[in-house]
């Protein structure tokens, strides 16, 4: 596991923060949404477990616009 210690976390942290912002904003928007295209729990799982693309997919096709 010394590879993990080699990594300079100060460099990688912004990337993780950006990913967190994306996931959280997608989650908040998904939960606030009355209805989504397809079941809501599926989108929540996708956003949480499919890195990056889950949230993008949700924003592009998951939102149902009234």
């Amino acid at each position: 596991m010394d590879v993990l210690n080699d990594i300079n976390w100060a460099l990688v942290a912004p990337l993780l923060i950006l990913q967190a912002i994306l996931a959280i904003s997608a989650l908040v928007s998904c939960i606030k949404q009355k209805e989504t295209n397809g079941p809501k729990w599926m989108w929540i799982l996708l956003i949480l477990f499919v890195n990056l693309f889950g949230a993008i997919l949700y924003f592009v096709i998951g939102r149902k616009n009234s």
Partner: protein
């Protein structure tokens, strides 16, 4: 003019409401920064992922800052273009599907103002995300690799902005013709891919092609000077985008129903 501004205001509210103002910049920034980071950590990544035989050694030359930036540009060229088209595809289609375009058009609003406000709002959003992402990538590149002059960075960025302009104009034009948003994204991506393909296949005849933009931007980064061909590409791309916009307005004027 005030009508145009009102419409623009509405578009920007719309962007905020559907979350595009958050996800697009964030995703582009993630794509941007991962380029220098993966280049920097490439040896460790290979160590962890590759089942290299004991004693095998790979020496990877450390890329220069300019190479890393042009790598980021090529990421924007593939994933970025896909995202741009996906983000722009339903600006008109959505309003046509839920009928709110009729509500807008019965007011004293003409097609110019309507389409113009859409184009400007989308363009502002995409350019904002691109600039944020590219500047962040540049910062990382300076930190991890050789420093790149800010003037060089800026000129390649300006060059690349024209590609974004072209993508937006193509997608919005296709959006005036087709109703279905997925088809809009498909057709415009196909068109953009075709242009890039033709540019690589027939370099002699396609010197003006917008598909050359990324190559020109890379050339700017590496050779650090504006060439004649850069002006040709910029001029033709700007003209083509304007023509596409005008064609979009023409198509809208012919609508019998929205």
């Amino acid at each position: 003019m005030t009508r145009f501004l009102t419409l623009l205001n509405k578009e920007i509210t719309e962007l905020m409401r559907n979350g595009k103002l958050i996800w697009l910049p964030v995703v582009l920034m993630i794509i941007g920064i991962s380029q220098p980071l993966t280049s920097y950590y490439m040896p460790q990544i290979l160590d962890m992922a590759g089942n290299l035989p004991e004693g095998a050694s790979i020496t990877i030359p450390t890329p220069t800052g300019e190479e890393v930036l042009s790598g980021a540009l090529s990421q924007y060229g593939t994933i970025g273009t896909l995202l741009f088209a996906l983000a722009t595809m339903n600006v008109i289609a959505q309003e046509r599907q839920n009928g709110s375009i009729t509500l807008v058009m019965v007011r004293p609003v003409n097609e110019w103002q309507y389409l113009g406000s859409k184009t400007v709002a989308q363009l502002a959003l995409l350019l904002l995300s691109l600039i944020l992402s590219y500047c962040l990538t540049w910062y990382y590149t300076n930190l991890l690799f050789t420093p790149v002059d800010w003037k060089v960075m800026l000129s390649s960025l300006v060059m690349y902005c024209f590609w974004v302009l072209f993508v937006v104009c193509v997608t919005i034009f296709v959006g005036t013709i087709i109703r279905q948003s997925s088809a809009i994204a498909g057709v415009s991506l196909l068109f953009l891919a075709l242009i890039s393909l033709l540019t690589t296949l027939l370099p002699k005849f396609m010197e003006w092609s917008p598909g050359n933009i990324r190559g020109e931007a890379t050339k700017l980064l590496v050779e650090q000077q504006w060439t004649e061909s850069a002006w040709t590409v910029i001029g033709s791309t700007a003209t083509l985008s304007l023509l596409l916009f005008l064609a979009g307005v023409m198509v809208m004027k012919r609508y019998r129903r929205y």
